[in-house]
């Protein structure tokens, strides 16, 4: 390692007292400088590498940099060899890269390893490429180094690539460059014609032909994105805004060419190229805003993707992708791992958290031979699963197919811009045709001269202002929501969200945190909680974990605790578990999940009651939705008692419990059939179908990957209050989009008669075009300002 600059020696991270010196989460005063041992380790690692400057470089402790565990993935197998195997490189998706300091830290920490040849992280795509000298097996160690710094890592997946390798975006950017080049150079020649009133006829002709020389290829190449979309629309028998733009640009170019041939006073090549440049600029910004959201979604999904462990006939274990597993294979599922495929339990007993597949808030027990659904999480000991259906035909694939169908239905949604285009395109072209015929046959000028006012009326009707009216609002609204932690993936999502009039909410994991919490009990004997927690520390059952989490003092796990499946924990004379296991009466079982603890055969059993608590902002969010005029319904797969309790505390009158995924989808269908526009909020695999069918849908960040794929919006920020805010922003955006369209149309009432009467010169046309676009953009900016308030 090279010597470190002296000023890096002051490695002490300085942060205000009361916050963890590494990750910045609040720490109780006097509890030390770090919130957990992991953060202390990460800080030691960072200052040990001499990178204490990281704490000064980073702008804010946005959280999410606590040390993380490496996902169960074979990183070495993904390393790509080069130079005959002497070197390897690996692409990783690094979540939590939030600022330049993070990039610096990750790159420098890897470069500190003398075998690492190159480490380059991209802040925009979250992609880290590291190249090292030596065997592929180093991959694991390098990935774990990044994980120990506090960044979640996952292999760079095909989905990440799709979200970032944006070929279409690149083509747009290239088209924008070409159009900007053409517009500026043509404008240079046009201005010479406009101001050069004493210019000779020959010189003017030269200027016209030079402009044509530049403009013709530019219009042909840079207009491709519009022509392609217009042709697609015509094939589908529809009319869209791109058709209006394409026709306007092509007609202007053709008319200018005819003016150049007969050496008329003006050509309009500048208008055609400037129009393309302006619209492409809007298109590029629109795409960039949505690309960020798509990438963030792919990032969340990549963190969930994992491999499975297959047990071979010879007893060895082998890690591989879930898609390669055939029915009949035996898989080993580690504690805490999510089942990737449907299958039956081969032996023993299993405790699975099925909240994601059915919505039940309490884990379910499975006996040997029982069918276990993909998506459930193993809470007990490691288990062996015999796969019954491969990835392509299992229950998850069925849901995915359903999503695809719903997605196609959603693709047919007609946006407000296209609805405006349906009216606008025929009217404008009829006016242009009438102008041409009027001048040619009515007034009796040559057909070339009649073409000028006709095309002028086409270009001043501002397909520009109209075409930019909705994208400008979209860019601003999507950007404002992104900053609030709401990811908007679909182009029409905001429009659909604004129109929703009924909200259907899932309970487990959506309105509630999905983790049970211990209820306070003043009658509980002193010391009972500590003693019970000592037993519970050795179990993965959610209630045991909640008990340990609720214990105010550090828990010292009791040793040699025996777990009796389906009953509880045994440690000498002490027992912790169900009522019958601890010899308590069954009468209390109805009041929600309860654990019993008995210190000995003579001691009285002590009850610990739990509840799946509502998210702290759930009531506020429900109230806000109601104030926005949305009717609120609760639709849950959980037991009636738990759903009724949640509904009562949120004041929701309409609720339904024990709903299967089909029930949920059916309810959404019924609402749609009744002419309502439902907004679905859910997080589980059991919600995915309903999410896809709903008019608009949202999922909290912790949701399953299928739910995220199905939903229009992902609420990345913790909490639900972002949803009413998103509805408000969507409605404001919708209002601004309508205003913009109305404004662009109103503009035409003045501009069109002038053009039809032949008063419009290219100079006036470009002024009209620029001013209407500017007005529309300024109006769109208001949406972002109000949204961030």
């Amino acid at each position: 390692m090279t010597a470190l600059p002296a000023r890096l020696d002051a490695a002490e991270p300085r942060l205000s007292a009361g916050a963890c010196a590494h990750c910045g989460v609040p720490v109780t005063p006097g509890a030390g400088r770090f919130c957990c041992a992991g953060c202390e380790g990460a800080a030691a690692l960072i200052s040990g590498l001499g990178f204490g400057a990281f704490y000064r470089k980073r702008e804010s402790a946005a959280g999410g940099i606590r040390p993380t565990a490496l996902p169960p993935v074979d990183f070495a197998a993904r390393a790509v060899p080069s130079r005959g195997g002497a070197e390897h490189s690996l692409d990783l998706m690094v979540a939590g890269l939030t600022c330049g300091a993070c990039v610096w830290l990750v790159e420098q920490a890897l470069a500190a390893d003398t075998d690492v040849l190159r480490a380059r992280a991209s802040l925009a795509t979250r992609r880290l490429t590291v190249t090292w000298r030596g065997p592929a097996e180093r991959a694991e160690a390098l990935a774990s180094l990044v994980a120990r710094l506090g960044f979640q890592v996952a292999p760079w997946s095909a989905a990440c690539l799709r979200a970032t390798e944006d070929e279409e975006g690149k083509a747009l950017l290239r088209a924008l460059g070409i159009a900007a080049f053409g517009a500026s150079n043509v404008m240079m020649l046009s201005v010479a014609v406009w101001v050069g009133s004493d210019m000779g006829e020959g010189t003017r002709g030269l200027m016209h032909w030079l402009a044509a020389l530049i403009a013709l290829p530019v219009v042909l190449v840079a207009g491709m994105p519009f022509y392609r979309s217009a042709v697609g629309a015509i094939r589908a028998g529809r009319v869209n805004m791109d058709l209006a733009v394409s026709l306007g640009v092509l007609a202007t170019t053709a008319m200018s060419l005819s003016e150049a041939v007969r050496n008329g006073p003006y050509t309009w090549f500048d208008g055609a190229t400037a129009l393309l440049a302006l619209l492409l600029g809007g298109r590029v910004l629109d795409r960039a805003a949505r690309r960020r959201a798509r990438q963030a979604c792919a990032e969340l999904l990549a963190l969930q993707s994992a491999e499975v462990t297959r047990l071979e006939a010879d007893g060895t274990a082998h890690r591989l992708g879930a898609e390669a597993v055939r029915p009949g294979d035996r898989l080993l599922v580690a504690p805490g791992e999510r089942l990737a495929l449907d299958g039956v339990l081969e032996e023993g007993e299993a405790l699975l958290d099925t909240a994601a597949t059915s919505g039940e808030s309490l884990p379910r027990r499975f006996a040997a031979g029982a069918a276990m659904p993909a998506g459930a999480v193993n809470l007990g000991a490691a288990l062996v699963q015999r796969v019954t259906a491969g990835a392509a035909e299992g229950s998850l694939a069925a849901v995915a197919r359903l999503l695809e169908r719903a997605e196609q239905a959603r693709g047919r949604y007609v946006s407000v811009a296209d609805r405006a285009a349906r009216l606008y395109v025929p009217v404008v072209h009829m006016v242009a045709a009438a102008t041409f015929l009027g001048w040619w046959l009515g007034v009796g000028v040559s057909w070339q001269a009649a073409l000028v006012p006709a095309v002028a009326s086409l270009i001043v009707t501002c397909p520009c202002g109209l075409a930019i009216a909705v994208p400008a609002v979209q860019v601003v609204a999507v950007g404002a929501l992104f900053r609030r932690g709401v990811l908007v993936g679909s182009p029409t999502a905001l429009e659909r969200l604004a129109a929703c009039d009924v909200a259907v909410l899932d309970k487990t994991g959506t309105l509630t945190t999905g983790r049970p919490e211990l209820l306070p009990d003043p009658a509980r004997p002193e010391g009972a909680l500590e003693a019970a927690a000592a037993l519970a520390a050795s179990s993965r059952h959610p209630l045991s974990r909640a008990l340990v989490a609720a214990c105010p003092v550090p828990v010292h796990a009791a040793e040699a605790v025996e777990e009796i499946p389906g009953a509880g924990l045994l440690h000498g004379e002490e027992r912790l578990g169900s009522a019958s296991f601890c010899g308590a009466g069954e009468s209390m079982e109805q009041e929600g999940p309860t654990l019993w603890y008995r210190a000995g055969p003579q001691a009285a059993p002590v009850a610990f009651r739990f509840a799946d608590p509502l998210r702290p902002d759930a009531a506020e969010a429900v109230e806000a939705l109601r104030r926005l005029g949305l009717e609120v319904e609760l639709l849950s797969g959980d037991a009636p008692a738990a759903v009724a309790r949640a509904a009562a505390s949120l004041g929701i009158a309409k609720w339904r419990a024990a709903a299967t995924p089909t029930d949920k989808a059916a309810r959404i269908e019924a609402l749609r059939a009744a002419g309502r526009r439902p907004l679905m909020l859910g997080d589980g695999i059991n919600d995915a179908a309903a999410l896809a069918l709903a008019h608009a849908s949202a999922t909290p960040a912790g949701g399953t990957d299928l739910a995220q794929a199905a939903a229009d919006l992902v609420l990345r920020a913790e909490g639900l209050s972002a949803l009413p805010a998103a509805v408000r922003t969507a409605r404001r955006a919708q209002r601004a989009a309508r205003q913009n369209i109305a404004f662009s149309l109103a503009y035409n009432i003045v501009a069109v008669p002038m053009a039809v009467l032949g008063f419009v010169t290219p100079l006036i046309a470009s002024l009209v075009m620029a001013s209407s676009s500017l007005a529309v953009i300024l109006n769109a900016l208001r949406v972002g300002r109000e949204a961030s308030e």
Partner: protein, 50 residues
């Protein structure tokens, strides 16, 4: 007219050069990570093992 014969091709040539340069930067992936590049200029002690 003589001035035009010189200046117009010159202006167009420079413009084309700029366009080609833009195409090169685009193909080179220089717009892939605008935020990262913005903060990268602040790093002072980048070293690469070779």
């Amino acid at each position: 007219m003589n001035a035009l014969a010189l200046l117009v091709p010159l202006a167009l040539g420079l413009g084309t050069l700029a366009l080609l340069f833009f195409g090169w930067t685009l193909g080179n992936g220089q717009y892939d990570d605008p935020e990262g590049a913005a903060s990268r200029i602040l790093f002072d002690d980048t070293k690469e093992n070779s």
